[in-house]
């Protein structure tokens, strides 16, 4: 049962019986956490009204039994009328929906022109920022290091970052340690391994010894996924192949020029290589780990504390946009909205193939996979723990790591949960979940054992 059900229903238990307080029982809670997706219910206003009424009823009848008795005796409609008499539900709802007025309305958000940034980008042309009272300029940025520096320098209030980047920045890897936080994941899946067309008969990774691969950044899911994939096939990514950090726009040009043999890259770059007849799709990243996070929406702790309402409004806009993007029927419209030169600057056909999941594979076939890229904002802390295990595995972190502490500091699962509840969405119950990467289960409670379980890793 969600917070957005009718609070005037006498049979409903407002004092919920589960850990998160939203479900009637622990069993219901588990059920809901399985279906973690955000399903926007009815209209925004109705949702908020429900939340406010719920809170008012709870305040009036601290004893749930008393509330039920009251509702049973006078009837729900009378109760609603009586309540509205002395409590302006409508006004309260409006105030609630506005939340706090943003301290700063004109914001700058940086992005890298790839489809991972879809929610951040589309929120501008499709009006999600405006809906939450913000005037946001989304600024295209040349590369990950630049986006990091500009966000640290406060030229950007928040930015699109690779999911491991805020962790790396907070830990001071490759930059001065500055506490950053992730209120929302941008996209899940949506990457791919593309090989040059001349390798179309070398589909077994065991034959890839000595090849050169490009990844977008050292602290990227792309790096960790490619290394994981290679290592599972018995190749040591540090000695058997060459991994190069190449900005996404240069990848296709490099593949054409034969400087690299392939890449694990964010989409529209993969599809672009196919579109231009340079390479073919070897594997979608979802085949390595279905539901893996890729990019995140990140801001510095400083921004969050100095402008908490702006930050909350931004997060709401992003969560809203993500929910919209998660619906397959909206994807074509989104592709058209983000294709112009002001945003991603790519042919609409390419973006459509990425977002709708019906794509040319570069070998003459048309494939369909509706979940090729998907959008789900919830920042699972177990994602952060997994990234930390990989940083440890490949020697980016030396020494001991307090996995849980870092994950909880950077990935704001609790705050996002609260925000999603306020918005009338159904966030998952926990902040950790187990998942499988190439069939191997990851238990977020035992990160050290997980790191130790890999045969191929950098000795530390």
């Amino acid at each position: 049962m969600s917070t957005f059900d009718n609070p005037f229903d006498p049979d409903r238990n407002l004092r919920a019986g589960c850990a998160c307080g939203q479900h009637g029982s622990a069993a219901e809670h588990d059920q809901a956490s399985l279906a973690l997706r955000c399903e926007p219910t009815e209209s925004e206003e109705r949702r908020y009204e429900g939340v406010v009424a719920s809170a008012v009823m709870r305040a009036m009848f601290p004893q749930d039994v008393a509330r039920r008795a009251f509702l049973k005796s006078v009837g729900a409609s009378t109760a609603l009328a009586a309540l509205s008499q002395f409590f302006p539900l409508k006004t309260a709802t409006e105030v609630f929906a506005q939340a706090g007025t943003p301290e700063k309305k004109d914001l700058k958000v940086g992005f890298i022109p790839i489809t991972c940034a879809t929610p951040i980008i589309m929120a501008a042309p499709l009006g999600f920022y405006a809906k939450h009272g913000l005037n946001v300029d989304v600024v295209k940025t040349a590369g990950w290091a630049v986006i990091r520096d500009k966000t640290i320098n406060k030229e950007y209030d928040a930015a699109h970052m690779l999911a491991p980047m805020p962790i790396a920045i907070s830990l001071g890897l490759g930059a001065n340690a500055i506490p950053f936080a992730v209120p929302a994941i941008e996209n899940i899946n949506g990457q791919g391994i593309v090989l040059a067309t001349k390798h179309k008969d070398k589909r077994d990774p065991k034959d890839w010894k000595g090849m050169k691969f490009a990844i977008p950044f050292d602290y990227s899911m792309h790096n960790y996924l490619l290394r994981y994939y290679l290592a599972e096939h018995g190749l040591d990514p540090d000695t058997d192949v060459q991994l190069r950090s190449v900005p996404p726009p240069e990848m296709v040009a490099n593949l054409r020029a034969d400087n690299i043999d392939g890449f694990l890259a964010p989409d529209n770059v993969c599809q672009r290589a196919i579109y231009d007849g340079v390479g073919f799709m070897h594997l979608l990243s979802k085949e390595i780990w279905d539901g893996h996070p890729c990019c995140s929406f990140a801001a510095s702790r400083e921004f969050i504390t100095t402008a908490p309402n702006s930050f909350a409004a931004l997060t709401r806009a992003i969560v809203d946009a993500t929910a919209y993007a998660s619906k397959a029927e909206n994807r074509k419209q989104i592709a058209e909205a983000i294709a112009p030169a002001n945003y991603i600057n790519a042919p609409v056909t390419v973006l459509e193939q990425v977002l709708t999941g019906t794509y040319a594979d570069g070998l003459g076939g048309v494939k369909t996979d509706a979940k090729r890229v998907d959008f789900d904002p919830f920042p699972w802390q177990s994602f952060a723990v997994w990234m930390l295990t990989q940083m440890k595995r490949w020697g980016q972190i030396k020494g001991d790591v307090d996995y849980k502490a870092v994950a909880e500091q950077v990935y704001l699962a609790t705050d996002t949960k609260k925000l999603m509840t306020e918005m009338g969405l159904t966030p998952p119950a926990g902040s950790y979940k187990s998942f499988a990467v190439m069939g191997k289960t990851f238990d977020p409670a035992k990160p050290e054992d997980y790191v130790a379980s890999f045969k191929i890793r950098k000795a530390s």
Partner: protein, 280 residues
């Protein structure tokens, strides 16, 4: 042979060369390569290079048509990431202008001091020699980190790269003023300041302006790279953004415009140089 007929003949040769270049370019990009057979649904999802074997390199006709599109509306503004070429060039010129003027303000007085004092000249020489050959882009990360603002960093990079040629040429020009002239001034008991402005400055001006001319060329070279790195606005950003979309046509147009603007900047300083040159 008169000069006018020489000029005419040179013009004709230039035009012939241009026509030959365009012709070869056109022929080289016209051809269509072989394509593999593919189903219509598949072909619909693919680009022209893959379906028709169209060369990835645009021909002169494509570039001309696209250039015309840009020239028709050079000042459009579709938001923070998509502005007309006129606006982008404006940003770049403004950045180069600011960094360059700051460099002039520092380099010329400093060069004067160093040039007039053999002691300073010797003492500062090792520093200048070390700093001079550093690629301006190597300063970029340091600038971003310390200045904490990308557009000021870009201006700083222009400043730091255009200061050295001006400084060295000023030093050289000031130190190389003929001894006789200075001695004459001394005999006439001209004061230090007056001597600097009425004797040394005019005498050293051609060398100083040559330094300024070298500097503006370097500044213009660097701005494109700096903007590609930092992004946001400017002609360098335009190149990067179009590269991102693998639009070689627009990249070629940008290259052409960068060349033309660079030439204009150089010509302006060449004119100044001619104004201060004197026959000996």
């Amino acid at each position: 042979m008169t000069t006018s007929s020489l000029r005419l003949r040179a013009g004709v040769v230039s035009i012939v060369l241009l026509a030959a270049f365009l012709g070869i370019w056109h022929l080289a990009t016209r051809s269509t390569g072989t394509t593999a057979a593919m189903s219509p649904e598949y072909a619909k999802l693919m680009g022209l290079t893959a379906t028709q074997g169209k060369s990835a390199m645009p021909g002169p006709v494509d570039v001309g048509a696209q250039l015309w599109e840009h020239l028709k509306r050079p000042f459009y503004d579709n938001g923070p990431n998509d502005k007309g070429l006129g606006i982008q060039l404006g940003y770049s010129i403004a950045r180069v202008g600011t960094g360059y003027l700051l460099a002039v303000l520092v380099a010329i007085p400093l060069g004067f001091l160093i040039g007039m004092s053999p002691l300073l000249s010797k003492a500062l020489d090792p520093f200048i020699q070390v700093l001079k050959p550093i690629s301006p882009l190597a300063w970029m990360p340091l600038a971003l980190y310390t200045i904490k603002d990308s557009s000021i960093s870009a201006i700083f990079v222009i400043f730091i790269c255009s200061i050295w040629p001006m400084l060295l040429n000023t030093v050289f020009g000031v130190a190389g003023v003929r001894k006789e002239w200075i001695n004459v001034a001394r005999t006439l008991e001209v004061g230090t300041f007056r001597r600097a402005f009425t004797v040394i400055l005019p005498a050293a001006a051609p060398t100083i302006l040559t330094g300024m001319r070298i500097s503006i060329g370097i500044a213009w070279l660097v701005i494109v790279a700096a903007e590609m790195l930092v992004g946001g606005t400017g002609i360098g950003y335009f190149v990067w953004n179009e590269w991102n979309n693998l639009s070689i046509t627009n990249v070629i147009i940008a290259i052409l415009l960068i060349g033309i603007i660079g030439m204009l900047l150089d010509q302006i300083l060449a004119r100044f140089t001619r104004m201060v040159t004197f026959p000996e």
